[in-house]
């Protein structure tokens, strides 16, 4: 495991049934304003299949007002609408995750410094154990995106930890498909 700043998740083991892969920003506005969105979405879609097969849940959070999700619907269990940058803003995401029993979140999508960062901080305040997927989070700006990842790792993991989809799949006992 190479997650930082600690081996994620904090409890040491991951029960896949308590895991949700949360995809944010997979819409036109972000796709037009991020670097290499296809790579991030591809990594997420590959991870989504594994998360599902392992018993986890794949959630897409879509900003209300534009019905333009660009995430493969074949690998999505649940779509939730939100009202802001954070997937938790004006949305039923928290309620859905609690109902599903998912308290571990792997977060990726488009807009590392915007949608992903806001959702990580929102998840953290609500007590979720969250992992930001660095290879599956397209930044608006590479240098600023690196700083967003750095901020997450400060103070012992201020919003959780950072890692890659490979780290997540390794945790689920799978190699990258």
């Amino acid at each position: 495991m190479s997650t930082s700043p600690y081996p994620w998740p904090y409890g040491g083991t991951l029960d896949p049934r308590r895991l949700a892969l949360v995809v944010v920003g997979a819409q036109g506005w972000w796709a037009a304003r991020t670097i290499d969105p296809e790579a991030a979405l591809g990594a997420l879609e590959r991870a989504a299949k594994v998360v599902r097969d392992a018993g986890g849940t794949v959630v897409v959070v879509r900003k209300a007002g534009a019905d333009d999700s660009i995430f493969d619907p074949e690998v999505v269990d649940l779509t939730v609408e939100c009202a802001g940058m954070s997937g938790f803003s004006g949305s039923s995401l928290d309620l859905h995750l609690r109902a599903l029993g998912c308290d571990h979140l792997a977060v990726g999508g488009l807009g590392l410094e915007t949608a992903v960062y806001s959702t990580m901080s929102g998840a953290n305040d609500r007590g979720y154990e969250a992992l930001a997927l660095a290879d599956a989070a397209a930044p608006h700006d590479r240098a600023v995106g690196e700083r967003a990842l750095s901020s997450i790792t400060m103070s012992g993991g201020i919003f959780g930890a950072i890692g890659t989809t490979s780290d997540l799949l390794e945790l689920l006992g799978k190699e990258q498909p």
Binding site: Y117, S151, G156
Partner: protein
């Protein structure tokens, strides 16, 4: 009053600063985040970085008070039995050697009522000012901040506080998502890492001001002094 010369746009978007509709929000100026012996000090970070904004914030506070602007102070802290502290947050703090609830030079770390939890004297609240206690990073989650602002007719928020990339950003992002028009005063904030502070300012300004605008406190004071 007039609009503030801010980046990436003149703030607020809808006209001159209106003290009746604007609140100054001072985030977590607590000993635990900028005082010797507090939580940030215990983690080994440079206190100069988180204390850098204290002086200009004191000047802005005085101007806001003189203008009759609503002032809100926030404090992060947990109940003495830590029943409102998520277990992963507790675990992470202990792992880095600054355990929430552990006893340090300023009392129990990040616990309500302890000396470390108090706001430092330079920017301490005065009678009549709102104080919002929060269990997390964002000041809107599990608090009455949104209600306080709506009852007071506030639509515009001016932010000072620490740390820029964590509690200030989380709160400013929540505010922006709720439709508040936000301004961050760049010299009235700081982070545990200077590069992350600069990037956090940049993040506000991306995409035409995705979370609002950024200005030096002098620009706000200029706008407030204008006839």
């Amino acid at each position: 009053m007039k609009q503030v010369a801010a980046d990436p746009y003149t703030w607020p978007y809808d006209g001159p600063v209106d003290p009746a509709r604007t609140a100054l929000v001072c985030i977590d100026w607590q000993v635990d985040f900028c005082g010797p012996g507090g939580y940030v000090d215990a983690m080994g970070y440079d206190l100069k970085l988180t204390r850098a904004g204290l002086e200009p914030t004191a000047v802005v506070l005085a101007a806001a008070r003189a203008a009759g602007m609503m002032v809100v102070h926030t404090r992060e802290g947990h109940l003495p039995d830590l029943s409102d502290c998520p277990p992963n947050k507790l675990w992470r703090s202990k792992r880095i050697g600054a355990g929430i609830g552990d006893t340090g030079p300023c009392g129990r770390i990040l616990v309500k009522g302890e000396p470390g939890w108090e706001i430092v004297p330079e920017v301490a609240p005065i009678a009549g000012e709102a104080i919002v206690d929060k269990p997390g990073k964002g000041a809107f989650y599990a608090t009455n901040l949104d209600l306080l602002l709506r009852v007071a007719g506030i639509a515009h928020l001016i932010f000072t506080g620490i740390t820029t990339d964590v509690c200030v950003h989380t709160t400013m992002r929540e505010a922006n998502d709720k439709g508040y028009e936000c301004l961050l005063l760049e010299d009235c904030t700081g982070a545990t890492d200077y590069g992350n502070y600069l990037a956090a300012l940049q993040m506000v300004k991306m995409q035409g001001g995705v979370f609002g605008a950024v200005a030096p406190s002098s620009a706000l004071l200029d706008a407030m002094e204008a006839a």
